[in-house]
Symmetry: C2
Subunit: 244 residues, 2 copies
Amino acid sequence: MRNIKLTLAYDGTAYHGFQRQINAIGIQQVLEDKLAKIVGHTFRIHMAGRTDSGVHAYGQVVNFKTTSTIPVDRIAIASRSLLPYDIVVLDAEEVPDSFDAQYSAQSKIYVYKIYQHTVPNPFLRNLVWTIPQTLDVSAMEEAAQIIIGTHDFSAFRASGGASVSPIRTIMAVECQLQDRILELSFWGNGFLYHMVRNITGTLVNVGLGKTSLEKFKTIFEGRDRKKAGATAPAHGLYLKEVRY
Amino acid sequence: MRNIKLTLAYDGTAYHGFQRQINAIGIQQVLEDKLAKIVGHTFRIHMAGRTDSGVHAYGQVVNFKTTSTIPVDRIAIASRSLLPYDIVVLDAEEVPDSFDAQYSAQSKIYVYKIYQHTVPNPFLRNLVWTIPQTLDVSAMEEAAQIIIGTHDFSAFRASGGASVSPIRTIMAVECQLQDRILELSFWGNGFLYHMVRNITGTLVNVGLGKTSLEKFKTIFEGRDRKKAGATAPAHGLYLKEVRY
């Protein structure tokens, strides 16, 4: 059995998240159904990170085992005529049998995009969170430094995740503003359920002047989800990269 | 009766063009139905330029007459909670009774976007024409100069348009390449049916080296649509601006 690793980009707007579900179409199902036609048998993919309904990816990673002898560079090309245009296989490579998209991952980068404009942009409607106010980016940057390092992230954890431990390590947070789009990027060894969206919602409160730096620190250290800001909407979030 | 001018941006993906139709949803119908709730009566809008199914706009202009006394700046704001997110009223202003979005227009700018990449981008799938080859932009720029001025554009005219005369004046054509997206912008006093898409299809043949500069000139001067390149797909086209 060969082990195939795929790197994917997708617009998550039309899907009920990544995972296969019973009553709704997930990206996993589309991939498994279409790629089965290329390799000639059914299979189950393993994904690096689950993305929720409406969440996008620039670099989701999955792997699957196959008996097919199709050359690996044909998989990406063949997939383009089978997959819908909102899911693209960027790259396919053969990896050692021990590689697992989820368990072999060392770290991930998520990006959250906020569009600051009083007039919404119809072309960005599913791709950013639009906020009419101007955010104080330097205050947000300062607050973001507080979460860097190894901490208990319970304050930003939604119920419903599968993880036991709330301890995660954030290596870096960056804030970049260009053409009215603020990109917050979070590089960490792992993320709890809704963690990026909950951090973003609370950072936006800092950017709006609703939450002081001191308050942000208290919320984070208090480990109580109910004290933090609202969960930022799914459609501003992107799984950018998975590092192995 | 007050005369109201609206400037609109829209993502045309979900609509069967701008014009009201019997068996499909046009942008006109959505606008008329939703804005009627704001002004309190039904009305018909006049549009600057019809856009086909899948064609987008950054600056479509329409006008309509109303008996409503609602302050004009309330119209754009009120529209945002009524219109779907893919249609946005950028601006509303009261104009003299004689203003007509179509007949008062002096010129229009259309932009055509071409994405040059071997890997399609899922976020741009409805917003650009993706071409895997690299285009020779300077050859396209040279060919584009040939159509500047007042000419018979029959070579680039599709059947089905309402205009009698095939004579139009093109003031400028610009080619700008940024982040692998080539933007061709066409500023003219008017455009025949499919004219921008037909010129683009033929210019792309020049960029691919399939059509020489001499051949482009012969096609243009021959006024025979059958000799020109294929019509570029609708979803790369934007009505950028209408000038009065």
